[in-house]
Symmetry: C2
Subunit: 207 residues, 2 copies
């Protein structure tokens, strides 16, 4: 099931709501109001209700949201319910940090493979994942890995992106500062950490 | 000069526009249309014009945006023009990746200090920055460092956040999955890499 004309900003917020709902469910909460969930997350409750309204209404008047159902709904909308295997390319500091990152499991992700060009790293294990030669990227589709994470220096990023596309990857998370050109069938999300930092001074008290 | 009632989503997009404007200016372009700049960035031109309209209008009819002026405007709005010194706490894989990250300079940031608790790391240099004992965080305000980046495991994050607040930091970029409680005068932006990854399957072709 695909949904159309959903604003990207709504899709950006759904994982935030999902995280809040999982957090409450883990504490044993069964139902919650939009006000409570929104205030927990520091978002506006009308905004959250509007975002949910694109997909029908998840709440019950007087009861609020049944958290288990809400989690299921969001997982299905974001297509996280099937689980996803990802490969990280680049086993330097950033790639190693990603391999050790505990937060992917919550969204059904598994970092199932890691690649590097450095012969000294190939064959080593990081967090249970053996680092493979980047020349073996073509094996991804056979291994049902359709997501790639680019954690190489910017100069190597376009080449890695091409190899990932060749290997049948459908989605790329790009940590390099380079623009990544891919065919339309592949989705790229670029994470620019500096850009997140750039929002901070606006909100800091002056003086 | 502070602006009020500006949507957070607008503030989130300003660094994107800034990056695009800097990119064009570096290529020698002097003026550009909102359509060209927006298409380069993969955003909607009406959205960009609306975002700019909160701050007056930066464009000239028939000429478009003078890039140097536009860059100056956005830098002033985001308060990036003064330059900012940041400290990273945690010199593990993520902290080391941040110290080596080339993208901060574009926004006027300098990672001016790094701290760790590990005696084996203290005293070493990463990208020209000496790693100091985390017990010396109190020196930050004297050194005019008002931004902290938390790159420690989640279990240590609340304690590090407290120490940063005590040290007079006004803004925190939090990479840990933990919720960080700080006084209202301190702004926290949490980066959840898994949450960015969680948007990807929605946009990937099915099958």
């Amino acid at each position: 099931m695909r949904y159309h004309k959903i604003p990207d900003e709504t899709i950006r917020r759904l994982p935030v709501y999902l995280r809040g709902a999982i957090h409450l469910a883990q504490q044993g909460v069964e139902n919650t109001s939009s006000e409570h969930l929104a205030s927990l997350l520091g978002v506006k409750s009308w905004q959250m209700r509007k975002d949910f309204s694109y997909f029908g209404d998840f709440g019950t008047p007087g009861v609020g949201y049944h958290l288990e159902s809400l989690i299921g709904h969001i997982n299905r909308i974001l297509r996280l319910d099937a689980g996803h295997r990802a490969a990280v390319v680049g086993a330097g500091n950033l790639g190693s940090a990603l391999l050790a990152f505990p937060g992917f499991g919550m969204y059904g992700f598994e970092i199932a493979a890691a690649f590097d060009i450095d012969k000294r790293k190939i064959g080593r294990t990081r967090n249970g994942v053996v680092i493979e030669d980047v020349a073996k990227l073509a094996s991804l589709s056979r291994r049902k890995i359709y997501m790639g994470i680019i954690a190489v220096p910017g100069s190597a990023a376009p080449e890695v992106a091409d190899a990932l596309v060749q290997a049948g990857v459908k989605g790329i998370l790009n940590f390099s500062p380079r623009y990544i050109a891919v065919p339309k069938r592949v989705k790229v999300i670029t994470i620019d950490i500096a850009m997140d930092l750039a929002r901070l001074p606006y909100y800091m008290p002056a003086g």
